[in-house]
Symmetry: C2
Subunit: 162 residues, 2 copies
């Protein structure tokens, strides 16, 4: 990231986090990876250019948030990208951003509320990392994102790739 | 933000949040504003250029995260920037980023752990928005950021500007 050296005077973990995931595309790629998107072609639906997508995926692999694996399909072999533990641990960052936007941006026509469901107890939580109903910490294995405007409830990817 | 139109096909609140605060400088300015920095000159310590700082402050005022006020000092009058409720509500985003970095980036030489202290009960919390000791939700009025590498414990700004 270009800003890395400018922030080197500071040791603050907010700055260190932004050094790795401060680019909006990186967080959107990770959001989609946590949804189960795996292939280059699938991430294209973000509306990102191929060259930027290639660079961001390579950076996320380099920084340990995704692993690249070869997948042997029925017709041909392709690469796929799976979130690691560091990748699934971004869940609270994504939830905190979503929660802030729900409170402070206009709801788009057609709706835009994303309910964060703690599947273990079935409740909707308003916290980034804790079930506000039962108090348990949230992980990617027990959360689904309920998006009525898509007509979908999406379970997340589950355990991180080793 | 340049990316706004590219993401307009989606209504996801993660995307809507990134439309407003997806720029790393914006989050660092808000981090410093929550610390009590108010004046243009104070935000310069981020190592940001004056032109970028001007644009980011104007955008944060436009989007309702900061309010600009005239402050009559002893020698001259200057503008100052105070976080609104939408600004202080970014606390969980900053905490989630810090928590992720503490877990997944190398600790810099000289240290870099930032303890999030819930001042009401005195405990350090590991959650972005909830005290992991007493279970109460965190607000900017009852959190301080303990940064031993600065030798400082910084209370946050307290109540948002009306």
């Amino acid at each position: 990231m270009a800003l890395r050296s400018d922030w080197s005077v500071e040791q603050c973990p907010v700055r260190r986090g932004l050094d790795v995931v401060g680019d909006p595309w990186s967080l959107l790629i990770m959001r989609d990876a946590l949804h189960g998107r795996r292939r280059f072609e699938e991430f294209r639906s973000l509306g990102i250019s191929d060259s930027v997508l290639s660079r961001r995926l390579a950076a996320l692999v380099r920084d340990g948030l995704l692993v690249r694996r070869e997948y042997r399909g029925p017709r041909r072999t392709h690469d796929e990208y799976l979130p690691t533990k560091a990748g699934t641990d971004l869940l609270p960052v994504l939830h905190a951003l979503a929660g802030w936007a729900e409170a402070h941006t206009d709801l788009p026509a057609g709706g835009g509320h994303m309910a964060i469901i703690h599947t273990t107890c079935g409740a909707e939580t308003r916290s980034a990392d804790t079930c506000t109903a039962c108090g348990e910490p949230l992980t990617s294995q027990d959360v689904s994102w309920d998006k009525p405007w898509f007509g979908r409830r999406d379970p997340l990817v589950g355990p991180a790739a080793p």
